[in-house]
C-alpha cells in the first residue's frame, strides 16, 4: 500500500512539474502575475510529493518489503540498518529517485531563498527547473519505476553489493547527486537570463551561490569516493580515470571555471556571454555523465545499466536541453555588448586564463572518455584510454593552472603591473623552488614528480599566505591582525580553497612518487622490514559478521623495537552475494599511512601479504576538504546573505 502511495505521489509530481514548466514561463511572457505566482507553490508541492515517494521507498527497504522487485535485488534482512537505507540509492531506479528528489529540492530552495529575485526572473528560473523535472520524472516513471511489485515475493533478498556496504560509499552518492543536480540551478538561471535578455552583476550575484553549493557538494562527493577507493579496493589507489569517475570530474572542472567567471560578471560585468555558456555546459556535462553512467555505452567497470532504452531516453533529454539552451544562446548572446574594459594584464585576464585551462582540462577528460567509442564507430578500432593517457595529457594543464594561480589571485582588477606582483611573490617563489630542489636532492634518483609536486604545492600555499599578509597592510601587529579579521569571508574562502588545491596537488604527487610497496608470503610468526618498520604476522583466525564470514589477521608493527600499533586486515566473504572483499587495515598518520592487506592462503603454508607506506595520504583528503571548506566560507559571505535572503527593504551599502 505504501509503495503504491509512493508511486502515486510520483505521478502527481509529474503532473505538478508539467504545470510548473509551462504556466510561469507563459505568465512571464504575458506579464500575468497570477500565472507567474504559480511557480512557488508548484515547486514546493513537487518537492513534497517526491520526498513522499522517496520516504515510501525507504520504508520498503527498511521493513525489507520483498514484494518490491527493487528491494529483492538490493537488500537482505541480515543487512545492518544503515545499509538498508543506503540500499535505496545503491541501484539505478533508487538513485534516479534521489536525483529527482535533489532536483526538486533545489527548485524548492530557490523559492525559499529567492524572495528578492525579480518576479519574472524567478518565474522563468522555476519554469526551466520544472522542465528538467518533467524530463527526469518521465524517465523515472516510464523506464525505471522503483515501485514495481513482484507477483510472488521471495523469502529474502539478494543483498546489496558488499563493496557498497561501507560508510564512505553510503554517503558518496547523495553528495555527488546534490552536486550534479545543483548545476541545474546555474543552468536554469542562465536560460532564464537568456529569455529575459538581461545579464548583469545582480544576476551573477544570484547565480554564484548555487554554483558554489553545487561545486562544494561535488568536491565532497568526489573526495568521499576517492577515499573509499583508497581504503576499500585493497591497493591504495585513489583515482582510476574510470569513465564513471570522469563523469563526476568533468562537471567539477567546468563548475570551478564557472565559479571564477561569475566573479568577473559580478565585479566587472565582463565575460557575460562566456559565463552563460559555461553555466549551460556545466549542466550539460552533468547530463553527459548521467548518460555515460546510466546507458552503459562506455563499458566501464562501473556501469550497471546496460539497457539501450534508457540510454536513448537520456540522450533525448540531453539533446533537448543542450540543443535548446545553445540555440537560445546563439540567438541572444550576440546582443550582449562588451562591457567593462580591462587591460591585457589584469585580474580579469588571469581569470580568463584560469577558465581556459579548466575548460581545456575538462575537454581532455571528455575526449579521452569517449575516444574508445569514437574510434570504434569511425574506424572500427577497439582500443583503450586509461590512466597513463590522462596522467600525461591532463596533468600539464593543471601544472599551468597552479603556476599562474598565485600571480593571478593577486593581480588588481582592470590594469595590473605584473612585475610589481611578481616581486611581492618572490619570497614564495624562492621558497617553493628551494623545497623542490631539496626534495630532489634528498630522494636521489627517483622521478621528478615528487619534487615538482612539492614545489607547486608550496608555491600555492606560500602564494596564498603572501596574499593574506599583504591584505593586512602595514602597521603594528595588532592593526594587521584586526585588518585580517575584518577581511570578507569570500577572501578567506578564496585563500582556503587555493591553499587546499596546493595541498592536494602536493599529496597526489607524493603518493604517486614516494609510496613504498612490498609483496610477499608470510607465515604466522614471521616478520619483515618495511621502510623503518618491522611487521609481524601473529596469527590468522576466522570470525563471523552480521552478513559475512571473515579471515582476520593480527599484524604487529614495531619501529626500532618500540610497538607502533597492531593492525587487523581482513578478507571477507559475503555468502548471499557470493563475493569476497578485502578490508585493508590502515594506520593513519600525519606524514604517512601504513596500509596492510591480507590475501589468500598459499600452497605450502602462509598467506600472501601486501603492505604499503603511503606518504601524505591524509593530506590528499584534507586538501580536497579544504577546497570544499573554502567554498563554504565563500558561500557564507555577507554579500550573498544580503543578496539571497534579505527581504529587508533598506538598501545595503555597496561593499
Amino acid at each position: 500500500m505504501i509503495a503504491e502511495l509512493g508511486h502515486f505521489a510520483l505521478v502527481l509530481a509529474f503532473g505538478v512539474a508539467l504545470l510548473q514548466a509551462v504556466l510561469p514561463i507563459w505568465g512571464a511572457a504575458r506579464g500575468d502575475r497570477r500565472l507567474m505566482a504559480l511557480a512557488d507553490p508548484a515547486a514546493m508541492v513537487q518537492f513534497l510529493l517526491i520526498a513522499a515517494a522517496f520516504a515510501a521507498l525507504t520504508h520498503a527497504f527498511v521493513t525489507s518489503d520483498f514484494s518490491l522487485s527493487l528491494v529483492v535485488g538490493n537488500s537482505h534482512t541480515d543487512k545492518p540498518l544503515i545499509y538498508k537505507i543506503a540500499g535505496v540509492w545503491g541501484n539505478h531506479e533508487g538513485s534516479l529517485l534521489l536525483w529527482v528528489l535533489a532536483l526538486s529540492g533545489f527548485g524548492a530552495s530557490a523559492v525559499w531563498f529567492g524572495g528578492n529575485l525579480p518576479v519574472t526572473l524567478k518565474a522563468r528560473v522555476l519554469g526551466v527547473q520544472g522542465m528538467i523535472g518533467v524530463a527526469f520524472l518521465a524517465f523515472l516513471l516510464f523506464t525505471s519505476n522503483p515501485f514495481l511489485r513482484l507477483a510472488q515475493p521471495p523469502m529474502n533478498g539478494r543483498d546489496l553489493n558488499p563493496l557498497l556496504q561501507d560508510p564512505g560509499l553510503a554517503f558518496h552518492p547523495p553528495f555527488l547527486y546534490l552536486g550534479y543536480v545543483g548545476l541545474s540551478m546555474s543552468f536554469s538561471f542562465a536560460v532564464a537570463a537568456l529569455i529575459e535578455g538581461r545579464i548583469d552583476a545582480a544576476w551573477a550575484r544570484w547565480v554564484r551561490p548555487w554554483t558554489l553549493a553545487a561545486w562544494i557538494f561535488l568536491t565532497i562527493g568526489i573526495t568521499l569516493g576517492s577515499w573509499w577507493a583508497y581504503y576499500e579496493l585493497g591497493w591504495g589507489g585513489f583515482w582510476f580515470w574510470d569513465p564513471v569517475e570522469n563523469a563526476s570530474f568533468m562537471p567539477w572542472l567546468i563548475s570551478a571555471a564557472l565559479l571564477h567567471s561569475a566573479i568577473v560578471v559580478e565585479k566587472r560585468e565582463s565575460l557575460r556571454a562566456w559565463t552563460i555558456l559555461l553555466a549551460i555546459l556545466a549542466f550539460g556535462f552533468s547530463l553527459i555523465g548521467t548518460f555515460l553512467v546510466r546507458s552503459g555505452v562506455i563499458t566501464s567497470v562501473h556501469a550497471f545499466a546496460n539497457d539501450p532504452e534508457r540510454g536513448v531516453f537520456i540522450l533525448l533529454i540531453l539533446g533537448f536541453f543542450m540543443g535548446g539552451a545553445l540555440m537560445l544562446f546563439a540567438l541572444r548572446a550576440g546582443a550582449l555588448e562588451a562591457r567593462g574594459a580591462f587591460a591585457m594584464l589584469s585580474r580579469e585576464s588571469a581569470l580568463v586564463a584560469n577558465n581556459l585551462l579548466l575548460a581545456v582540462a575538462a575537454f581532455v577528460v571528455f575526449i579521452g572518455t569517449i575516444w574508445p567509442l569514437v574510434a570504434e564507430l569511425l574506424w572500427g578500432r577497439v582500443l583503450s584510454v586509461g590512466a597513463p593517457f590522462f596522467d600525461a595529457a591532463f596533468t600539464p594543464f593543471m601544472v599551468g593552472l597552479a603556476l599562474i594561480l598565485p600571480v593571478g589571485a593577486m593581480l588588481p582588477w582592470k590594469r595590473a603591473d605584473l612585475r610589481a606582483t611578481v616581486r611581492r611573490l618572490l619570497p614564495a617563489l624562492l621558497l617553493a623552488l628551494a623545497l623542490g630542489a631539496l626534495a630532489y636532492a634528498v630522494q636521489s634518483g627517483r622521478s621528478a614528480l615528487g619534487p615538482v609536486g612539492l614545489a607547486l604545492g608550496a608555491w600555492l600555499v606560500a602564494g596564498t599566505l603572501t596574499d593574506l599578509a599583504l591584505r593586512c597592510g602595514r602597521g603594528s601587529l595588532g592593526e594587521r591582525l584586526s585588518r585580517l579579521s575584518r577581511l570578507p569571508r569570500a577572501d578567506w574562502g578564496k585563500a582556503t580553497a587555493h591553499a587546499g588545491l596546493g595541498i592536494t596537488i602536493f599529496a597526489v604527487a607524493a603518493m604517486m612518487a614516494w609510496a613504498t610497496e612490498d609483496i610477499r608470503v608470510l607465515r604466522p610468526g614471521e616478520s619483515f622490514a618495511l621502510g623503518p618498520y618491522e611487521i609481524t604476522l601473529r596469527e590468522v583466525h576466522k570470525e563471523s559478521g552480521p552478513n559475512y564470514e571473515t579471515s582476520l589477521a593480527e599484524m604487529a608493527v614495531t619501529k626500532a623495537g618500540a610497538a607502533v600499533t597492531t593492525l587487523y586486515p581482513e578478507k571477507r566473504f559475503y555468502p548471499v552475494a557470493q563475493m569476497p572483499t578485502t578490508e585493508a587495515a590502515i594506520d593513519y598518520g600525519l606524514f604517512r599511512d601504513l596500509y596492510l592487506v591480507i590475501g589468500d592462503p598459499q600452497e605450502g603454508g602462509g598467506y600472501a601479504v601486501r603492505s604499503y607506506i603511503k606518504p601524505f595520504a591524509n593530506w590528499l583528503w584534507g586538501g580536497a576538504l579544504m577546497m570544499a571548506l573554502g567554498g563554504m566560507l565563500s558561500l557564507s559571505d555577507r554579500r550573498y546573505r544580503v543578496a539571497a535572503g534579505a527581504r529587508r527593504a533598506a538598501p545595503q551599502p555597496a561593499e
Binding site: V244, V293, F363, I367, S384, V521, V609
Partner: protein, 148 residues
C-alpha cells in the same frame, strides 16, 4: 561514481593482483615490469590494468612480461610482443600516430585556439570604452520602475 562500484566488485574481488611468486628477484627488472604492467589493460576485465587485475589471463600476461624482460627485451619490445598477440586494445595509452594523433593533440589544439580567441578578445576589450553611468537599457528600466 558509486554505482560505480558495482563495479569494481566484479573484479576487485580478492585483493591480490601481483602474487608473491611472480615477483622477480632483480628489483630493477621488477620495477620495469610493474611500470609496463600498469600500462597494459587486462583483456577480459573492464578498465583494470594487468597490474591490478586478478583475472588468470592477467597473471599470464604479467608472467609473459617478466619472461621477456628476463630474456633481455627492452620495454618497447615487451609492449610490441604483447600488442602483437592481444591487439591495441590492451594499450592503456593509445599511440600518438594516425587517428590517435587527434586524441593527443585535441587538448593542446583547443588551448591554442581558445588562447588565440581570448587574446584577440582581450585586445579588443582593452580598447572598449569603460561603461560609465547607466546604459540606455538601464535608463529605460529605471524610468519604468519610477512610473510604477
Amino acid at each position: 561514481m558509486r554505482r560505480l562500484i558495482l563495479v569494481l566488485a566484479l573484479l576487485a574481488s580478492p585483493a591480490f593482483a601481483v602474487q608473491p611468486d611472480e615477483v622477480l628477484p632483480d628489483p630493477v627488472l621488477e620495477a620495469r615490469a610493474r611500470t609496463i604492467s600498469e600500462n597494459l589493460r587486462c583483456p577480459v576485465c573492464q578498465g583494470e590494468s594487468i597490474d591490478d587485475s586478478n583475472a588468470p589471463i592477467s597473471r599470464s600476461l604479467r608472467l609473459a612480461v617478466r619472461e621477456r624482460l628476463v630474456a633481455g627485451d627492452s620495454d618497447a619490445e615487451v609492449m610490441e610482443y604483447i600488442v602483437a598477440r592481444y591487439g591495441e586494445f590492451v594499450l592503456f595509452r593509445p599511440r600518438a600516430s594516425g587517428s590517435g594523433l587527434v586524441l593527443w593533440l585535441a587538448g593542446p589544439a583547443m588551448l591554442v585556439l581558445g588562447g588565440g580567441i581570448a587574446f584577440a578578445m582581450a585586445r579588443r576589450r582593452a580598447k572598449a570604452p569603460e561603461a560609465e553611468g547607466l546604459s540606455a537599457e538601464d535608463r529605460a528600466r529605471l524610468e519604468a520602475l519610477l512610473k510604477e
